[in-house]
């Protein structure tokens, strides 16, 4: 370190810019903390469907009808599940926080519908039905509960979406579905749903698109399209198309790039910026300075050097095996790559690492960073773990990815806020989006769980120490 170097100082540093990391960062910034998100590229939002899946299945049973009612059963069946540790009320509050935050940051008219009381069943690109609790406005009409006669429309230009396959599988599920194709000249070597989404925001192009589509529709009262109904003006594009086609229109999630996922990320990014948080993209965390188990600072790769980020608290929201934040080496050893933290859920060395059935629960499915009951890393008490890095869950089988991300992101923000204590209250009082809360004071004692539903400012008095930002 020369005289020209200094660690950047924050109240909290969040590692990862997926739904969990962004939630933690936004909620912390809203509470008045100085927050920085370090992200090794963009992640989960751009690859996932853009829905908020809370709980879709428990141990391979039939799809969950009501996540809210099933959470207790999950908690007793799997006491190590993140939902079991956080409690159903945290999940409900996180969904409410999300709905509010998203509405404040998304383009007018575009939002999420639904709640944790009932799962909607949405068609996938393969024509199977997938349970989801909160879905974008543009997907709502796809809920199987309201589907009777539906046209599934595609175009040969989008080579990853096959309306015939989708419609055939929907028919097997008892829905009268018919596939239609329209020709589109996208003038692109590599057409994607994103390219169509951008073109559909041009009124003339959209009108021509609707004319072609309208010409091949029959008696169907709904039309399913790949998720490409506009990027920045999705609500307006949807309304216009429904008016032109005289039918309800809905989106079916596609292979990446996920347009609804991009809309989700852009709203979260806007919310973070509005709350005063910082996001550094491309900054791979490559080392940490530690003392007595605590993480004092992390180093992130920057041009020519590394930049150090110092904070009393860190939130690890780097994702799990799928994101590459936890990896398995050729000897079958699992490792947490960002901070080198200990893992939970790794089978003994003698046990098989994989099972034959691809769709069965793989032995490593529930691996994650070993945490205590506050979701702090066992190896590092000032690192709160959020999202897919948490052990005990199998998001792909349980359909719980976004629900766990939101709940644990909010949980992490509350815990860190509480620990930072009155130091942030000055700004918190004036922050626009305060948290849902009651008057309970979260536990600071490491052996107690923080009670859900409170932010420090909710109970702090005006006479507390005024500290908006950490002293530099």
């Amino acid at each position: 370190m020369s005289w020209a170097d200094a660690a950047r100082r924050f109240d909290a540093v969040v590692i990862g810019a997926g739904t969990a990391g962004m939630t933690a960062a936004i909620a912390l910034a809203q509470a008045g903390a100085r927050v920085c998100v370090l992200a090794f590229g963009l992640g989960s939002t751009h690859l996932a469907a853009g829905t908020i899946d809370v709980l879709g299945a428990i141990d391979g049973e039939d799809p969950v009808r009501s996540p809210q009612r099933s959470l207790a059963r999950l908690a007793s069946a799997r006491p190590d599940h993140p939902y079991a540790l956080m409690g159903a009320s945290t999940v409900a509050e996180a969904l409410a926080w999300f709905a509010r935050t998203f509405a404040g940051a998304a383009p007018r008219g575009y939002g999420y519908v639904g709640d944790a009381g009932r799962n909607m069943m949405l068609p996938t690109a393969l024509g199977t039905l997938r349970p989801s609790a909160l879905v974008p406005t543009t997907m709502a009409a796809g809920d199987a509960a309201g589907l009777d006669r539906v046209a599934i429309a595609g175009t040969p230009a989008l080579r990853d979406f096959h309306p015939g396959l989708c419609a055939a599988n929907l028919r097997d599920a008892g829905i009268r579905a018919r596939a239609v194709q329209i020709q589109l000249d996208l003038d692109r070597a590599d057409a994607s749903a994103l390219g169509v989404a951008r073109r559909l925001e041009e009124p003339a192009w959209r009108a021509a698109f609707c004319r072609r589509l309208g010409a091949v529709l029959g008696a169907e009262d709904r039309v399913g399209l790949p998720a490409m109904i506009g990027l920045h003006q999705a609500a307006q594009v949807l309304a216009d198309m429904e008016q032109r086609l005289q039918r309800r229109v809905f989106e079916i999630p596609t292979l990446p790039p996920s347009v609804p996922g991009m809309r989700l990320f852009e709203a979260l990014r806007r919310a973070l910026r509005a709350a005063g948080g910082t996001l550094v993209l491309g900054a791979e965390v490559s080392g940490a300075e530690r003392s007595g188990g605590r993480v004092l600072s992390v180093a992130a790769r920057s041009a020519g050097r590394q930049t150090r980020y110092r904070a009393p608290w860190f939130v690890l929201a780097s994702g799990g095996l799928g994101a590459g934040a936890i990896e398995l080496d050729s000897r079958g050893r699992a490792r947490e790559r960002v901070l080198g933290l200990g893992l939970r859920g790794v089978a003994p060395a003698s046990a098989p690492r994989f099972v034959e059935d691809f769709f069965a629960e793989q032995p490593l499915a529930r691996v994650g960073v070993a945490v205590d009951e506050r979701l702090c890393a066992q190896d590092a008490p000032n690192v709160v773990v959020a999202g897919a890095a948490l052990p005990g869950q199998a998001p792909w089988l349980e359909g719980c990815g976004e629900g766990v991300a939101l709940a644990s992101g909010l949980w992490a923000a509350r815990l860190v806020s509480a620990e930072l204590g009155g130091r942030c209250q000055a700004t918190q009082r004036s922050s626009p989006g305060s948290m849902p809360g009651d008057a309970a004071k979260p536990g600071i004692d490491a052996t107690r769980r923080p009670s859900p539903g409170s932010m420090p400012g909710d109970t702090a008095t005006e006479s507390g120490d005024r500290c908006q930002r950490m002293e530099r």
């Binding site: 751009h46 590599d190 994607s192 996001l279 965390v285």
Partner: protein, 427 residues
């Protein structure tokens, strides 16, 4: 677990160097075709002529053979903004791979005369400075621009800066011996933009640094070679950047406390990383030294502030300013230090813009066949600027400032200008 105080990862330069040796091509294996780069590419989102960073990059790279031209010439439409590499969750060096493919293409197809001219700002500046009034008149004449468009392919509507007529280095030579602490030695790297077009920006940078007690020297320097590199003339770019690195390294070697500081954010990025990585100069000892000790001016000032060593005798500026972080500034991977600095100035209302790129990408937007693409890329930024209501736009890169002024009619200055005024140094 590691011992107390131990580093679990590398924090020193040698290990960074080691990892940089992992060749660009090896990063290809990490591409999972997730298309995240394509969602963020400002160029492919504005024109079908560039099919996208994944398509032109990791996907096409499989068909490329070293020393042979790429099978798909569309990679020439990549502007080199580098956003694809920033957003890639797998660490694939997409922009860097595409820059190399572009150079292969130029090697095979030849470099147009136009590129040979506009990629040499130092040569242009040296030639035009003595006759600046004439050169500026000429560049301001519509018929001359139309002719340049027809003959050379420099778009007649592209923003061209005016020659200042007096070089920054001439002012610097006439300066009194630097004051400030000897242990805090800044070697000021001004770049071609400051040298020939905006010498006043350099004087402001020096004033702000000296106001903070730093000893500023301005040794003989030159172009960093970035325009040559982005136009695919790698051999010339290597020669140019190595000459600069040699000069700067000599100064650094003389004084262990010295650092290199620049206000041209793409030129400092060239010294920090791009020359080494894209031009394959990882082993160049001069560049290795310079790369580790080069700072963007806002990066340095914010570091001083983090240490409690930045002077905060800042007078209020009761104005509104929008801030655009150029793509190349984001390439430093240090966040937006200018925002934190501007936030220190009382009364100044800063509106952060979120557009990724202004489109100009150095010389890209000057080229006749690319100017319209550059303007289409800029649309998002220009709309945000107009919506912000701010009469001025702070921005770290000179070519972006010219593009912003050209496209919005608003004043665009380096963020350092606001510190300069708030310190009262303009009086």
């Amino acid at each position: 677990m590691p011992e107390d105080g131990a580093l679990t990862g590398s924090m020193d330069g040698d290990l960074i160097d080691l990892r940089d040796h992992e060749t660009l091509r090896a990063s290809l294996d990490h591409c999972v075709k997730c298309t995240i780069c394509e969602t963020a590419c400002p160029v492919s989102n504005a024109t079908p002529l560039f099919p996208g960073p994944k398509y032109a990059g990791p996907q096409s790279e499989r068909y490329r053979i070293a020393g042979r031209p790429p099978v798909d010439p569309s990679v020439d439409y990549c502007s080199g903004c580098g956003i694809c590499s920033q957003v890639c969750p797998q660490g694939v060096r997409i922009a860097e791979l595409n820059a190399r493919a572009r150079a292969e293409l130029k090697r095979a197809n030849g470099v147009p005369l136009r590129d040979r001219i506009i990629a040499r700002p130092a040569l242009l500046g040296r030639l035009a400075t003595p006759v600046a009034p004439l050169a500026n008149r000429l560049l301001g004449l519509r018929p001359a621009r139309v002719a340049a468009h027809a003959v050379l392919g420099i778009h007649s509507d592209a923003p061209l800066p005016r020659f200042a007529g007096r070089r920054f280095s001439a002012w610097a030579r006439g300066r009194a011996a630097p004051g400030g602490a000897r242990s805090r030695h800044v070697i000021y790297f001004h770049g071609c933009g400051t040298e020939y077009y905006e010498p006043w920006e350099g004087r402001r940078v020096v004033a702000v640094l000296e106001h903070n007690g730093l000893a500023v020297t301005v040794p003989r320097q030159g172009c960093c070679g970035l325009p040559l590199q982005s136009s695919g003339m790698f051999d010339d770019a290597r020669r140019t950047v190595r000459r600069l690195a040699r000069r700067l390294a000599r100064e650094l070697a003389r004084d262990e406390h010295a650092i290199v500081v620049g206000n041209a954010t793409s030129c400092t990025l060239m010294l920090k990383r791009e020359a080494r990585e894209i031009l394959g100069l990882e082993d160049d000892p001069d560049l290795s030294l310079v790369s580790r000790r080069t700072y963007d001016v806002c990066e340095l000032l914010l570091a001083l502030h983090e240490r409690g060593e930045l002077r905060t005798d800042l007078e209020p500026i009761n104005e509104v300013v929008a801030y655009h972080a150029p793509c190349q500034q984001q390439g430093h991977l240090i966040g937006k230090p200018a925002l934190d600095l501007l936030a220190l100035i009382p009364g100044l209302e800063v509106r952060e813009l979120s557009a990724a790129c202004c489109g100009i990408a150095g010389t890209y937007g000057l080229k006749a066949e690319k100017h319209r693409i550059a303007m289409a890329v800029a649309r998002d930024l220009f709309e945000q600027i107009r919506a912000s209501g701010a009469p001025a736009v702070a921005c770290d890169s000179e070519t972006c400032r010219w593009q912003i002024a050209h496209g919005t009619g608003r004043r665009s200055v380096h963020p350092i200008d606001y510190l300069y005024r708030a310190y009262g140094l303009d009086r």
